[in-house]
Each structure stands twice: as structure tokens, then as C-alpha cells.
């Protein structure tokens, strides 16, 4: 749990980041399969009107995930 690290839930629309790692082991396996690989570029596209879920671009496609799921992906900034 590296402190001070930013996570995907804190990104703003249009912001781009590089995936650093995951804070939730159980979820990380699924995120990896969906192409959220450490070192991969990730773009925060938009969030749903109620703020949750959010839509990101990764690996060249659009993935939607809940805010608390996004919060488990930490990014380099």
C-alpha cells in the first residue's frame, strides 16, 4: 500500500497515466486479464452521470468499472 500514490479513481476526465500496480489482490487477477497491466497506459475517459462507474481506455479499448474498483489501480504520476 504505497502511500502518496495516485489511483485511477482520482483521475480527471482526459487524464492519462501509467499503471503502477494494484492494491487488491483478488481484483488484480481480473484486472490483469482485462489488460490492465503494470506499465500500460491508461486514460480516464468519463464517469457516469452519478459519478460511478467510470470509463477508462486501456489496451486500445474502453472498459467500465466501479469507482471502488478503479481505486485499486495505482498509477505513476
Amino acid at each position: 500500500m504505497s502511500e502518496g500514490n495516485k489511483n485511477v479513481a482520482q483521475m480527471k476526465p482526459g487524464e492519462v497515466g501509467i499503471i503502477a500496480g494494484f492494491t487488491d489482490e483478488h481484483l488484480s487477477v481480473k484486472l490483469l486479464e482485462m489488460g490492465c497491466l503494470p506499465g500500460a497506459a491508461i486514460r480516464f475517459n468519463f464517469s457516469a452521470p452519478l459519478g460511478d462507474p467510470v470509463c477508462i481506455s486501456v489496451l486500445g479499448y474502453e472498459l467500465s468499472l466501479r469507482l471502488d474498483e478503479a481505486a485499486t489501480i495505482s498509477i505513476l504520476n
Binding site: E25, H26, L27, S28, V29, K30, L31, L32, E33, M34, G35, L37, P38, N45, F46, A48, P49, L50, G51, D52, P53, C55, L59, G60, Y61, E62, L63, S64, L65, R66, E69
Partner: protein, 704 residues
């Protein structure tokens, strides 16, 4: 070689990879929808002629992202691919991959290759790849992967001949394994492989990784796996993350060498522009509710004509047969039990077809994923999932396909709650009951100048059902306690024009499922109910005619009038009539008499039977005309008050009762099947009956 058997080909691929389009293209109408043995997962299979004299059976497996399943639907794929000794093991596998999104597709492909079955990669959506300016060196790709690669466009059929040719030739099992099993796992893998006599290491590794997802393992095998795991420090899922990373590293290197020109995402621009509107804070919801409204409108507006036609068709078939066949119990069973029973199923086909046409268009276009995206947060507050929207919407047409549509929800709790509350959505079978009762008690007048009161009442009942569904879900959210985590992780595919062929197949498939699933139960129950309503203790039924003649000798009835009275007399003295009278004390607080009681009994299996029973019991059985039934019901006198039997209090009480009561045997059957046990259907039946009873009681007591 054993005796030649039919070539079995399985289609595997990511969701949205165009797998089903390819399947539809290759099999045409040669499809059959069944179930995988022992599980409730729908099996789509079909036949395709690969070349002269070579017909292959093609199985379309559920869309998956990896061999590690997330939902029960996905589990079947791992089971089929990993159980090489089983009858169901395919001879060849086609992995369908979206070429615009190749990395993720290749993750699955590399797993399938390692499983060690002859595999072909079908690179789909080559039209979009061209648009995006990507080009791949297909030969290099094929060489490095060790499997044939065929570029296709499943939407218009490009490349399918080539694919058939490749499939009709013998394929070799790729020698090279892509994933290198970690050294620390080798001993455990080898030991298990020897013990189970598996074809390759990766199979053994997969079994060690996820023994609990694989239903084909016996109890002894499970014990053995546990032992080996303990011995070698292995535990399920140990290497899953590392394996994925290793595979993606391979894929990245591979793509670096075979991609001739990198992509640009400009072809997706219109998609993101559309999202600006369709996911908009205000417009997003406005559009969603407009779409919903349009769907309901089309269900009710377009389905009326074919439904009336079907109704008439079955009525005249009954009449015709009862005319030509010799009178007797068998003829009556056929004309009064079985044919109306089948008619009662077929009459819903138009509504179900239209509903699934709409849903298929939304799915195909990519909009449905946005609906899930828009609604997830709201639905989650009620213990549901964004994906619950589709079942709840479908529930307005019929709960049976709706409950089958819950299979896409990965989370057990959210899926169970969705199944539980879906029957509270007012389905189309409630409509005839609602229509006749509303016409009876609500004046056909305008309220506030332009709203039709009857229309408003009807809408109110739909909203009532919806509110009950959501509130029940909320309550269940707090009652059911499970540790399982809920997650979304869903691809938002680029918008595309729906492919009408696929829409057509979806309609056929869902309608078939409804007719056969619900049909079996409805027919069986209609026969039972027919017996209950046609036979009774003693000789009253046989002597019905004489008794009625005696009672009404001074009434000078017409022949038809007499027939109707005889029918009513028979029903009153049948077993159903006796039960109806028996429950009168229980339903009296709701304002119902024994005649309504009989209708409650006969409509227990299918609520729309209410109207027909009312017609028989009020001796207007010979007319199919709703107005006649309505007028007769209006004239019915309550002997205790001397006033009309169907006062607004009774009418609303009945309306509320039918809004909440289960009154649908096929729903119980499908819930039993989907939840694999009697626990949930029985809880659901009890809950809905109590809810209906209490609400009707409150309504009647307040209004009267």
C-alpha cells in the same frame, strides 16, 4: 481410430468478438438451443457443411475473457476445454478474436493453445482493422503462434470459405506451449498429470489452479488434488496473475513483430461523440427512458393484432375439433384442456418476440452496455447490479425469459435478488386481468382534462409492481449476507449498426426457449386444472343438465342460455368449485366471494386464465367477447349488501392481488431451474402470496 463420429467444433472468444455472428453465418437456421447436460447454461449448437459430405457440429460457447471463469456461464467453457476424456470434448476449436482489440483476444487464444486441442484463430472485424489503418502479417502471426490464422468479417461473411477449408483439413496440435509453467509448480503438475492420465501439463496445471470450477472432477480426484496441493505448497489461483502477465509479455513481443502499421483510434471518434450525448447527465437518462417507453409502446401496440389472431385461431380450432370429434372425456381434454393450454402459451409469442427484438438491437448496437453503465449506481443501492436492468425490463413482457437473462450477472447475491424480484414486474399475462377489472371499476373519463383515467390506473399498476420489485430488492439486500464481492468490469464496445440477421436469430432463440420451457409446465398444469374444473365428487356433474333444468324450469331459457348455466353449474360443483368455496373464509376479508375464489384457483398456474374462468362461472362462457363478460360482472349482485359485487373496493383489491401474486407456474419452474433447488421458488411463492394477500386486504379495508 474408433468408428468415425461427427466432427465437433467449438467456438470460443471474448464477449463482443463477433463469435455469435460467425456462428449464425455458418449454421444458418440449422441451430438447436439446448442445455449443457446437468447445468442450466444454454447450449447453442448447429450444423455446418464444411465441404461436400463433411458436416460438422458447431457449438457456440459463452463469451469469456480467460479460462478462469467468473460466472456460471463461463465455467462451462473451462469444463469443456479441460475435460479431454469426455464425450463433449470438441475435436477442433475456433478462437474468434476482435482484430481491433487483438491483445485481449490473444490472451484467451494462448490459453486455448496450451490446453492442447487443435485450434484455429479467426481474426474477426477485419473491415474495422482496415479502417483503423492497422495491418498484420498474418503468416508471421500464424508461424509464431503455431496455429492457422484466418482473417474474416463475420458480418458480411468474408473469409468464411477459407475458414471452412482450414477446418475441413486435418489440424495438428500445436507443439509449442506458450506459457512456461513455473519451476516450483512442476512437480505438483507432473504428479497430477500422471495420476489423472492427462494429455499435457497445462491441463494438470489448470486443474490445480481451479479445482472448484471444474465440475467433472470426482470426489476422490478432489481429495487427491488437495493432497498434492498441500504437499507442494500449491493453492488455487496461486499463479493466475503471474500467468496473465507472462502471456501478455509474449503477446506484446509477438505483436511488435507482426504489426506492420500501428492503429489510430480515429474510427472510434464517432463512438466517443455519441457517448457524450448518450452518457450525458440529463440527456443520457432522457434518452434511456424514451427508449424504454418506445419499447413498451411497441410491445403493446404491435402485438395486439397477432395476439387477437392467435386467440381466434385457437378458439376456432377448439370449436372445430369439438364439432368433428365424438364427444367424450378425451375430446374435452383436448378441446378444453390441451388446446387452450397451448394457445395460452403461443399468445405471448408476439410480445416476447418484439421485446427480444428490441433488446437484441440494444445489445448489438452497444447501447445496452451504456444502460448498465448509467444504471449501475442506482441499482446497486437496491442490492442489484447494472446488469439487472435487462431482466427487469424483460419482466414486463414475461418473467420466464427475463429470469433466464439474469445469467450474465456474475455475483450470486445480485443475481438471486434479481431473480427474486423480477416476477413482481407486471408481465403481459396480467394485462387481460387488469384490462377487464379496470374497465369494470374505473370510469372511461378524462382526468385533469387529458389523461384517460383507465390508462392512468393501468400505468399506476405497472409502477406499483416496479416499486414493489425495487423495495423487495432493498429488503433482501440487508437480509442476504454473503462475503462474495460484487464487481462490474465490463467492456464498453464501440457503437455499431445492429446486424439484423443476429437480431432475427435472437428472436427465434428466445421465443423457442419460452415456448418449450414455459410450455411444458403450462400444458401439464392446464390438464390438471381442467380435471379439477371438469370433475367433482358425487354425480352432480353428470346430472348437471337435469338439475339446472329443474332449477330454471320457469325461466324459459334459450338453448345457449341453458348451456351457459349448465357450464356454470358444473364449475360450481367441480373440485375447483369446492376448493373455491373452501377458501372463501380466507379470501372474504379481501372482499372476494367463492366465485372469485374459483378464479384464483384456476388462474394459479397462469394468471390470464382468470378472465376465462370469470366467463364460465358467470354463465357467459360461450362468448369470447370481453364486453359481455364485463356487463355480466357489473350485474353481479353481492347478496349481503344488495349492491354490486364488483365495487371499486373489491376491484382494486383484486387488481392489487394480481399485481403481487405469483400466479404463474412456469415462473416457479424456471426459478427452480435457475437457482438449482426448491428453496428460492418456494420462498418467492410464499413471499408474493403474503404480499398480495396483505396488500389486497389493506386496500379492501380502506376503500370499503
Amino acid at each position: 481410430m474408433s468408428t468415425p463420429k461427427r466432427l465437433k467444433i467449438a467456438f470460443v472468444g471474448n464477449p463482443n468478438s463477433g463469435k455469435s455472428s460467425l456462428f449464425n453465418h455458418l449454421t444458418g437456421l440449422n441451430q438447436k438451443i439446448g442445455n449443457f447436460p446437468g447445468v442450466t447454461v444454454e447450449k447453442r449448437a448447429g450444423y455446418s457443411t464444411l465441404k461436400d459430405g463433411l458436416v460438422a457440429e458447431i457449438i457456440d460457447l459463452p463469451g469469456i475473457y480467460s479460462l478462469y471463469p467468473r460466472s456460471i456461464d463461463e465455467r462451462i467453457v473451462s469444463e469443456i476445454l479441460l475435460d479431454h476424456h469426455a464425450e463433449s470434448c470438441p475435436d477442433k476449436i475456433v478462437v474468434v478474436a476482435d482484430a481491433t482489440n487483438l491483445k485481449r483476444g490473444l490472451l484467451l487464444l494462448t490459453q486455448v493453445i496450451d490446453v492442447g486441442l487443435p485450434t484455429v484463430l479467426a481474426l474477426n472485424m477485419m473491415d474495422l482493422v482496415a479502417k483503423a489503418g492497422i495491418s498484420y502479417d498474418i503468416n508471421a502471426l500464424s508461424n509464431q503462434l503455431g496455429v492457422p490464422v484466418v482473417p474474416i468479417n463475420a458480418r458480411n461473411g468474408t473469409g468464411l470459405e477459407e475458414l471452412k477449408k482450414v477446418l475441413s483439413n486435418p489440424l495438428t496440435i500445436p507443439e509449442k506451449k506458450i506459457f512456461h509453467i513455473y519451476d516450483e509448480a512442476q512437480v505438483a503438475v507432473k504428479t497430477l498429470r500422471d495420476h489423472l492420465q492427462l494429455d499435457n501439463d497445462y491441463e494438470a496445471y489448470q486443474i490445480l489452479q481451479q479445482p472448484n470450477s471444474l465440475g467433472f472432477l470426482s470426489k476422490e480426484q478432489h481429495q487427491y488434488i488437495d493432497e498434492i496441493s498441500k504437499q507442494h505448497g500449491f493453492f488455487p489461483g496461486k499463479f493466475q496473475g503471474a500467468e496473465t502477465i507472462q502471456r501478455y509479455t509474449f503477446i506484446q513481443n509477438l505483436l511488435d513483430t507482426v504489426t506492420l502499421r500501428a492503429s489510430n483510434d480515429s474510427w472510434k471518434l464517432y463512438s466517443s461523440k455519441l457517448d457524450k450525448i448518450l452518457i450525458h447527465k440529463v440527456w443520457g437518462y432522457v434518452i434511456f427512458f424514451t427508449v424504454l417507453f418506445a419499447i413498451f409502446q411497441s410491445i403493446f401496440a404491435w402485438a395486439t393484432v397477432p395476439m387477437d389472431f392467435i386467440d381466434g385461431l385457437f378458439a376456432s380450432a377448439s370449436n372445430y375439433l369439438s364439432g368433428v370429434l365424438p364427444d367424450g372425456p378425451l375430446t374435452r381434454l383436448l378441446t378444453e384442456g390441451i388446446i387452450p393450454g397451448i394457445g395460452g402459451i403461443v399468445i405471448f409469442v408476439p410480445q416476447i418476440a418484439i421485446l427480444f427484438a428490441c433488446i437484441a438491437v440494444l445489445e448489438e448496437s452497444g447501447y445496452m452496455a451504456r444502460v448498465v453503465f448509467l444504471m449501475d449506481k442506482i441499482m446497486r443501492k437496491f442490492g442489484l447490479n447494472g446488469k439487472s436492468v435487462v431482466p427487469l425490463m424483460s419482466g414486463v413482457a414475461c418473467a420466464i425469459p427475463a429470469i433466464m437473462a439474469t445469467r450474465t450477472i456474475d455475483n450470486w447475491k445480485e443475481r438471486t435478488i434479481t431473480i427474486f424480484v423480477t416476477p413482481l414486474m407486471s408481465c403481459s399475462a396480467r394485462l387481460p386481468v387488469f384490462t377487464i377489472l379496470i374497465a369494470l371499476i374505473v370510469p372511461d373519463q378524462l382526468a385533469l382534462g387529458f389523461f384517460n383515467r383507465q390508462g392512468l390506473t393501468l400505468m399506476g399498476l405497472y409502477l406499483l409492481g416496479f416499486a414493489a420489485a425495487m423495495l423487495s430488492a432493498l429488503v433482501m439486500k440487508y437480509i442476504i449476507q454473503v462475503k462474495e464481492r460484487s464487481y462490474l468490469l465490463m467492456e464498453l464496445p464501440a457503437y455499431r449498426w445492429p446486424k439484423w440477421l443476429n437480431v432475427g436469430y435472437t428472436i427465434v432463440e428466445k421465443t423457442k426457449a419460452f415456448v418449450f420451457e414455459a410450455g411444458k409446465v403450462i400444458i401439464a398444469i392446464s390438464v390438471v386444472l381442467w380435471v379439477l374444473a371438469s370433475y367433482g365428487p358425487g354425480d352432480k356433474i353428470e346430472k348437471a343438465r337435469e338439475n339446472v333444468l329443474q332449477q330454471s324450469s320457469n325461466l324459459r331459457l334459450t338453448e345457449q342460455g341453458l348451456e351457459d348455466r349448465v357450464a356454470a353449474y358444473k364449475l360450481e360443483n367441480s373440485y375447483a368449485g369446492i376448493i373455491g368455496k373452501g377458501i372463501e373464509p380466507i379470501i372474504r376479508p379481501l372482499g372476494f366471494d367463492w366465485k372469485i375464489g374459483i378464479a384464483l384457483i384456476t388462474s394459479f398456474a397462469a394468471r390470464e386464465v382468470f378472465v376465462g374462468t370469470m366467463a364460465t362461472i358467470y354463465s357467459v362462457g360461450s362468448t369470447e367477447d370481453q364486453t359481455t363478460i364485463k356487463i355480466r360482472m357489473k350485474e353481479e349482485i353481492n347478496p349481503e349488501t344488495g349492491g354490486s359485487r364488483f365495487t371499486p373496493a373489491v376491484g382494486f383489491s383484486l387488481l392489487v392481488f394480481y399485481t403481487f401474486a405469483m400466479q404463474c407456474m412456469s415462473t416457479i419452474a424456471v426459478v427452480y431451474r435457475e437457482t438449482k433447488g426448491w428453496k428460492w421458488p418456494l420462498i418467492q411463492l410464499a413471499y408474493m402470496t403474503v404480499l398480495a394477500y396483505v396488500s389486497a386486504f389493506v386496500v379492501f379495508q380502506i376503500l370499503s
